[in-house]
Amino acid sequence: MNVLEAVDLQKIYRNRQKTVAAVQEVSLTLAAKEVLAFLGPNGAGKTTTIKMIAGLILPDRGSVRIAGRDPHREPKALRSLGAVLEGNRNVYWRLTPEENLEYFGVLRGLTRQVARQRAQVLLERFDLMDKRQSQVQKLSRGMQQKLAIAVSLIHDPQLLLLDEPTLGLDVEATASVKQLVREIAAEGRAILLTTHQLDIAEELSDRVAIINQGKIVIEEPTSELIRQFSGTAYRIELEQELDADRAYKIGALGAVIEGNRVAVHEVSLLYPILEILKPLPLVRLEKDRANLTEIFLKLVGKNAI
């Protein structure tokens, strides 16, 4: 059984002035251990979809099942779900990390005793032991975010929803959140993740779904998607800039030169170009591999990142 099955979700907001089709015909499934990167430009409908899955927004149409239960009809379904929501604090700033974990543990249906044990394990694991008794408002943004993730795991849910978990974090904190996401998935949880940092999505996800203007444009395993969009071209990187003579010859063959890089668009040109470059020292020679950013821009449009 899939941990998450969302079928044909639709949400259309009707205000006095205008109608916004926030989400249309969106279906997502997730199995245990899977990380799905849910990507899309601002206003595409990611948060709306996530909240429909969490039971916080009522869909106009469609159904959600978390471990077989509908969160809109059976609050018990929420036992299997943890979420870190975008733009929210998610935890109490006046309480300490320890108090937050214990409180939310009970709120999610644990006994106090189990909540306390789990809290200690999570504090240890998320490296928050030293700060467990300081008020959350005094912690760094990175620690607050780690705590929010720890709290979302307190009741050991099968499905984790992370809406922009690295927003506003510095490099180090981002790296540690990334590492945690990897570990959490490896434990057997399913993770639905949104982010505007496409390199993170590329590194972490098993599958990618891209949404634009409320509709899913593509959904593929990440490696498959990247293979599809990768051309047959090669990239050559040199240690120093190309001299004018060689640059002229290579340019005449039809390759594109940018400083110390040469982009070769036809396989047949690779060896003739290497011949011209000889004996200049190379830094690397690689087959062109599309990255998620390029794919995203192709699918969603340049004005949309």
């Binding site: 969490a54 916080l56 927004i57 009522l58 929420l78 979420a83 998610n90 700033w93 006046r94 249906g109």
Partner: protein
């Protein structure tokens, strides 16, 4: 299991309020001054040779109850608004207990804390003014009916907070309504007015409280049954409206305060 949640809410409320200790102390001092001023001025107005004892006591009880009810009445909506502001509200709605149970536990837990403070103030004032209120255990029966009604109203205000996001005006109008409900001698009305009195939220229970507490009368079983029915009806109404509003805000996608 619900008891575990209640205890967790009690701990959370308590910890949070100790971390706002300046506010708590300010609140206690303020309430005491207002109470004491009220006592003195009622004394002054009622003074002289008239036998105003029984009116005087019922005004005091009415007032104390009124402040308690104001607290209960605003507690769910206030909590909803606070949490929407601090960005924790949606996490609360992710509880498998369901929102109405969580907010009921919260409201009762904060009443517990408030009650301890209020009763202490009341005792101090009784000591200071030398007034003489009876406090029999049977009091809890009418108090229960009043509390049920008060929580019903609290859920109604909570529903307004969910749907409208703005309840300040409604709350202050309600506060005056409550003052009327608690000081009006509904029990002495007759005919059609009496029936109306039975239907007003909390009024029959408040009348019983006055009788038992200030006038030292026994508890009338029939009137208590009416008061209980009144409380149950308002409580259920509040719960139903709250569940409806929860669904409606979720439909509008406004739970977090869009």
């Amino acid at each position: 299991m619900l008891f575990e949640l209640f205890m967790a809410e009690l701990r959370r409320s308590f910890i949070q309020s100790t971390r706002y200790s300046a506010e708590i102390i300010g609140g206690i001092v303020g309430t005491t001054i207002i109470f004491y001023g009220l006592f003195l001025s009622t004394r002054y107005v009622a003074g002289g040779g008239f036998q105003f004892g029984d009116r005087f006591d019922s005004i005091i009880i009415g007032y104390v109850l009124w402040t308690l009810m104001i607290f209960i009445q605003g507690s769910i909506s206030g909590n909803l608004q606070d949490e929407a502001r601090t960005g924790t509200l949606e996490q609360v709605f992710l509880s498998p207990y369901g929102a109405s149970q969580v907010f009921l536990c919260r409201a009762i837990a904060s009443l517990f804390i408030n009650l301890v403070i209020n009763i202490s103030i009341l005792l101090v004032i009784i000591g200071l003014t030398g007034s003489n209120l009876s406090f029999p255990l049977i009091l809890f029966l009418p108090l229960l009916t009043v509390l049920l009604g008060a929580y019903g109203l609290s859920f109604i205000m909570g529903s307004l907070a969910l749907i409208l996001k703005q309840v300040q005006q409604a709350l202050s109008i309600f506060q005056f309504g409550l003052l009327f409900l608690f000081t009006a001698p509904v029990e002495s009305w007759s005919g059609g007015l009496r029936i109306l009195g039975y239907c007003l939220p909390m009024a029959p229970g408040a009348g019983l409280l006055r009788d038992v507490m200030a006038r030292g009368e026994g508890l009338d079983g029939g009137r208590w049954a009416i008061a209980l029915l009144n409380g149950v009806v308002y409580f259920s109404l509040g719960m139903l409206l709250f569940r409806w509003s929860e669904r409606e805000t979720k439909r509008q996608g406004k739970l977090g305060g869009y």
